[in-house]
Symmetry: C2
Subunit: 167 residues, 2 copies
DNA sequence: TATTGTTATACTCTATAACTATA
DNA sequence: TATAGTTATAGAGTATAACAATA
């Protein structure tokens, strides 16, 4: 890095026609970025989501859709707007997620008794079965990506992440 | 949650025309998701990137573009392909990032001596100045989001995240 | 033949505004 | 008038294939 920083031979050259010296690829690292929480979060998230997609394979359930299914299972009859506020998903995006679940026969919308503007959501029998299968794979993926951590480190990581986005 | 799980009154009703009972919003939480590393990472990353955008304000530099500028400053003359491999950005996306930096006068492309297919990248004087200003804001944002952690917790978090995506 | 940079394309995610039906 | 759900649209991120210039 010292060599690269001198800039003695590698000047930008406002004058065109100048050719640039090589940077020795062996010297290159991302140390200047590695101290940022945001950069580390991003890289970790990409790695985790990539494993998620690989593990779920042909099920074709995205993380956001999995989170919706899990919440609908935990709270049968939950409305889209309640889901939106708790999962921090925009209502307009929720429409597509729910519509896809319905089109695949995994969920149904039912008008709410108290407020007929709202739709209560329920998993169908096939939806419950799909979620059971998918949940096993998600758990497997979570174990897989946590494999580099001890159980204690995993709990510490979860607690620190919660501190970042909660109170 | 116990009430919601019984499903006694809230059955999906394959029969249409049935109306759904309300779910008590006060009972709703994301506990079923909070134990997943991937979910916690995603929520934390959204919070951090949101603060990043808010803090940088009118500078209109996205995280990916900031990472490129920082690497070009550390390694003047670095090529797009080297940047791509180290930042894990697709070459086709790098084109747009670099083009935008050039269009704004923050960077220049210079043909490489050894391999004239490659373009060495350099920050211009205005680019250096912009990066200096932006880096202060990024550091401020990082301090801001780290405020809920002790210095030791922050280091622990970084170390655990690195374990997730590195060796 | 293989690689660098590029163009084109497409799909997902994110964000906003506007509309409808209900309240 | 306000809210739930919807539609439409646009910008950004991600991924792939194909092409020109160069190796």
């Amino acid at each position: 890095m010292a060599r690269a920083r001198t800039g003695s031979t590698n000047a930008p050259g406002e004058r065109l026609g100048v050719l640039a010296d090589d940077v020795d690829e062996a010297d290159v690292n991302t140390r200047a970025l590695d101290t940022y929480i945001g950069y580390a979060l991003r890289r970790a998230q990409v790695a985790v989501f990539s494993d998620f997609a690989r593990t779920l394979g042909e099920h074709d359930i995205r993380p956001a859709q999995f989170s919706v299914m899990l919440m609908v299972q935990a709270y049968p009859g939950i409305t889209q707007s309640t889901l939106c506020s708790h999962l921090d998903i925009e209502p307009s995006r929720m429409v597509g997620l729910v519509h896809d679940l319905e089109a695949r026969g995994f969920a149904v919308r039912v008008r709410c008794k108290s407020d007929r503007r709202s739709h209560g959501l329920f998993l169908t029998k096939p939806g419950e079965a799909e979620l059971t299968a998918v949940k096993q794979l998600v758990d497997e993926s979570d174990r897989h990506i946590s494999a580099r951590l001890t159980g204690e480190e995993r709990e510490t990581l979860l607690a620190l992440l919660h501190k970042l986005y909660q109170g």
